[in-house]
């Protein structure tokens, strides 16, 4: 029987890659401390920053908001209503969970509802534009990125934080390496600095295994949406996570080394040539004013048919 490294009580969790066993109380404490360390080490933000946390109702984003609140950061939440039903009222239930979470802690939540703002749900947009071979995931990603940046700019937030964990990052990296999408490799980073109207983006949980964020949510008693987004079922991301977990099972620490090794290689300039290309000049979209790679309308404005005439955001 494993005992807590801090107090010697019976451990509830053992992290093989760190050879670390902890009881409930000390796990919760360790998790919060580790997040604070990551935020400092990677210079993500300080107590002076106004942080906007993208919350979906899932375990990772709610755990992140909880931890940032406990650490005393100025962290508000942004929930984006996607209009996904999937027979389980997915979006409605997610919103309820997020609203209850914010209310219990007295936190400020901004809600942006896609069908209300743009007249169509995410699945409807995907169907109309025939994007993503029956899956609305690429449309969803595009819309979420656009709204997150717009809200952050409009409300004066200096940092956007998302709940991505190490398994998310390792799975994306694995998928991009399998197909040698080198352009994506250059852009994948737990800290993307602000540039040309894009707000700084950070992932304070990127060193935690998914198992650890789930354990935190469970031990902290956070009510989160356990059901998948109905479109995530059978997603490639899940498949790659399972493959990586099988490797991890045989060799603890594999996932962590894979991703941290990538960041190190990148820091040493292994992707410098591609990075330069990826960091080409950005232009302001002629409709919404948000940054885009090519002059003219941005990908978002080409996608949506807004009900309300959009007000361009002035460049900072």
């Amino acid at each position: 029987m494993k005992r807590c490294r801090k107090c010697g009580e019976r451990a509830v969790i053992y992290m093989r890659q760190h050879r670390l066993a902890l009881c409930k109380e000390h796990y919760l404490e360790w998790f919060v401390e580790q997040t604070a360390r990551t935020i400092r080490k990677y210079r993500m933000f300080t107590k002076h920053d106004r942080v906007l946390v993208a919350v979906s109702g899932g375990k990772d984003s709610l755990a992140l908001w909880d931890v940032l609140w406990r650490l005393g950061y100025q962290a508000d939440g942004l929930y984006i209503g996607l209009g996904i039903d999937g027979g389980i009222a997915y979006s409605d239930r997610s919103q309820e969970v997020v609203e209850a979470f914010a209310q219990e802690r007295g936190l400020h939540l901004i809600v942006e509802d896609v069908p209300t703002l743009y007249g169509e749900s995410i699945p409807e947009m995907a169907r109309r534009t025939h994007r993503g071979r029956g899956k609305p995931c690429s449309v969803c990603g595009l819309v979420k990125r656009h709204i997150m940046n717009r809200v952050a700019r409009d409300h004066g937030y200096t940092v956007l934080a998302t709940g991505h964990n190490l398994d998310d990052e390792a799975a994306v990296l694995f998928a991009n390496v399998m197909t040698w999408q080198v352009g994506y490799l250059a852009r994948q980073d737990p800290v993307l600095p602000a540039r040309d109207g894009l707000v700084k983006k950070v992932k304070p949980f990127f060193r935690f295994y998914e198992r650890e964020t789930a354990a935190y949510a469970l031990l902290r008693g956070i009510a989160y949406i356990y059901d998948e987004c109905p479109f995530a079922q059978g997603a490639k991301s899940i498949y790659f996570k399972e493959v990586l977990n099988r490797l991890e099972e045989e060799r603890p620490g594999t996932k962590l080394q894979f991703f941290l090794g990538f960041l190190k290689a990148k820091k040493q300039g292994a992707f410098a040539a591609i990075q330069e290309q990826a960091e080409g000049e950005l232009h302001a979209c002629e409709v919404c004013g948000q940054p885009t790679t090519a002059p003219g309308r941005c990908a978002f404005c080409r996608l949506v048919t807004p009900l309300t005439s959009p007000t361009p955001t002035p460049s900072p």
Partner: protein, 72 residues
């Protein structure tokens, strides 16, 4: 294992149920069910339980899936 406990325990993951022999550890039971321990968290009555705990006859262990999908 010194004393082979008799009986069985049950693992539940979403809508799947697995019957495993009592006496083995939670971790062994998860592998026995063909699952990857890294992808689940074992709970009993809503509480997280250690993976090195030995299962008793009649134990019901609910596995919380930790993997969520989508590229977020």
């Amino acid at each position: 294992m010194k004393d082979k406990a008799r009986g069985t325990a049950t693992l539940i993951l979403r809508d799947q149920t697995f019957t495993v022999p009592a006496g083995i550890t939670v971790r062994e039971a998860i592998r026995h069910a063909g699952l990857v321990p890294e992808s689940v968290l074992p709970t009993r009555e809503g509480e997280l339980i250690p993976e090195d705990e030995r299962l008793q006859d009649g134990d019901v262990i609910r596995l919380v899936a930790v993997i969520s999908g989508g590229w977020a």
